[in-house]
């Protein structure tokens, strides 16, 4: 079976790279093809998700939650079946907003194994809940 592809993008004006880099590395080691885009606007995230024909979009949420929510809306409207997950220093009220849009959310303290398990589930590699 072909490897599943995941887009990793950073929303908002946030220059913290360690989190998404470590997550990308864990996903790579789990057999995913991880496309790093870095800090990106909503339009750039959508364009990358389309061009790269990814199976999952991962958002590292930095800066204001409204910006992240706009990115989620744009991806979901252009690619209606695209699963998304999010991580980063996300306060509880913002986690709820993301979860309400159907995202799996990984705030600080989340285990890499849980993130990888989520990626497997969201790309259809495993069906366990």
């Amino acid at each position: 079976m072909r490897p599943k592809r995941i887009l990793m993008a950073k929303t908002g004006l946030d220059g913290h790279w360690r989190g998404p880099t470590i997550v990308a590395r864990a996903l790579r080691d789990a057999g995913f093809e991880v496309i790093m885009i870095g800090m990106a606007t909503t339009n750039e995230i959508v364009a990358a998700a389309v061009d790269e024909d990814v199976d999952l979009v991962g958002l590292n949420i930095g800066g204001h939650i409204d910006v992240a929510l706009r990115a989620v809306d744009a991806v979901q409207s252009t690619c209606p079946d695209m699963p998304l997950f999010a991580g980063g220093t996300i306060p509880p009220h913002a986690c709820k907003q993301l979860e309400a849009k159907g995202l799996e959310v990984f705030p600080p303290g989340s285990a890499l194994t849980d993130i990888v398990a989520s990626a497997n589930r969201l790309t259809g590699l495993s069906s366990q809940q």
Partner: protein
């Protein structure tokens, strides 16, 4: 139309999705991939294909980023295929070329696709050739292929591209390195990127001396560049644009021959499976390879 005006034009996502999915099919291989490439090859195509290669970290992606705005002054649109390595252990890959590339203001005029090598040797992916043919048929007038970081001999790009830019750095090697076979024989132009690092003059002289020994009328030029500042990039692009404009369509023919060869190989493998399933597996057991191929030849004769 100016870049700014075009960047404002809405991107046709449905059209791009179709192209992106076709590339996924090609990457996945099998009959669907062959059918797609066959259809692509039946379409008249005229793209210029520029290969960019060199060791890891030399600045290939950063140079693509710096060259893109200049390329868009000459070409109406540009497709970029950027290859990075897959893990031999897990099959996973970290495709990081987009991080370096400021493709962001080009909207419809730039298509960018990251491609993992998926075990293929030679600096590109197995699907790269067919994807070039697909993009060519899709009327992208300039296709830039960025190879993964190569060593001395992973130069498959030479068979696929009209012109190849080799990216090296000051301190890359001494006169012996510059005269070794492989990398310095195959480029049409050379960039010494990160030119603000020590050792530029020596690297340039040694490289130029090596290139002057090539049996060609005009040895490739060497351009010091600092991709992240744009230094030297205009001069480099001027040379590349001229090289592309003068390029014969040889590489397009070569891509077609390689495609035919790939189809023949797939057919042979499928025939061989049939042979094995029709008693060939048992018949060739404990036979020498020579006898086994004779039996295969007999099987072919009986079938025809």
């Amino acid at each position: 139309m100016s870049n700014a005006a075009d960047a404002a034009a809405p991107v046709d996502f449905e059209q791009r999705k179709a192209l992106a999915r076709a590339i996924t099919s090609i990457e996945s291989g099998g009959n669907q991939a062959l059918t797609l490439e066959e259809a692509a090859l039946a379409t008249p195509a005229n793209a210029h294909v520029l290969g960019i290669t060199g060791p890891p970290g030399a600045g290939k992606s950063s140079l693509v980023s710096a060259l893109l705005p200049l390329a868009l002054q000459r070409y109406s649109s540009v497709a970029v295929l950027a290859v990075d390595p897959s893990s031999a252990v897990t099959g996973g890959a970290l495709l990081g070329d987009r991080v370096r590339i400021d493709y962001r203001h080009f909207g419809n005029r730039v298509f960018f696709r990251s491609m993992a090598s998926r075990g293929h040797q030679g600096g590109i992916a197995a699907a790269t050739r067919a994807t070039i043919n697909l993009l060519d048929a899709d009327q992208w007038p300039l296709i830039i292929i960025e190879t993964l970081g190569i060593g001395q001999v992973e130069l498959d790009i030479v068979d696929l591209a009209d012109r190849v830019l080799v990216v090296l750095n000051p301190g890359w090697g001494d006169g012996f390195q510059a005269n070794k076979a492989g990398l310095t024989e195959q480029g049409d132009a050379f960039a010494l990127n990160k030119a603000d690092r020590p050792g530029l003059e020596q690297a340039k002289i040694l490289l130029e001396q090596s290139l002057q020994c090539l049996p060609v009328e005009r040895p490739p030029s060497v351009f010091p560049t600092i991709a992240t500042d744009g230094d030297g990039v205009t001069e480099l692009w001027h040379d590349l644009a001229q090289l592309l404009a003068d390029s014969p369509t040889e590489s397009s023919k070569k891509r077609r021959i390689l495609a035919a060869r790939e189809a023949a190989r797939a057919q042979l493998l499928s025939d061989f499976e049939t042979f094995l399933n029709c008693g060939g597996g048992e018949a060739t057991q404990e036979k020498s390879p020579g006898t086994a191929t004779d039996l295969l030849a007999q099987f072919y004769q009986q079938r025809s």
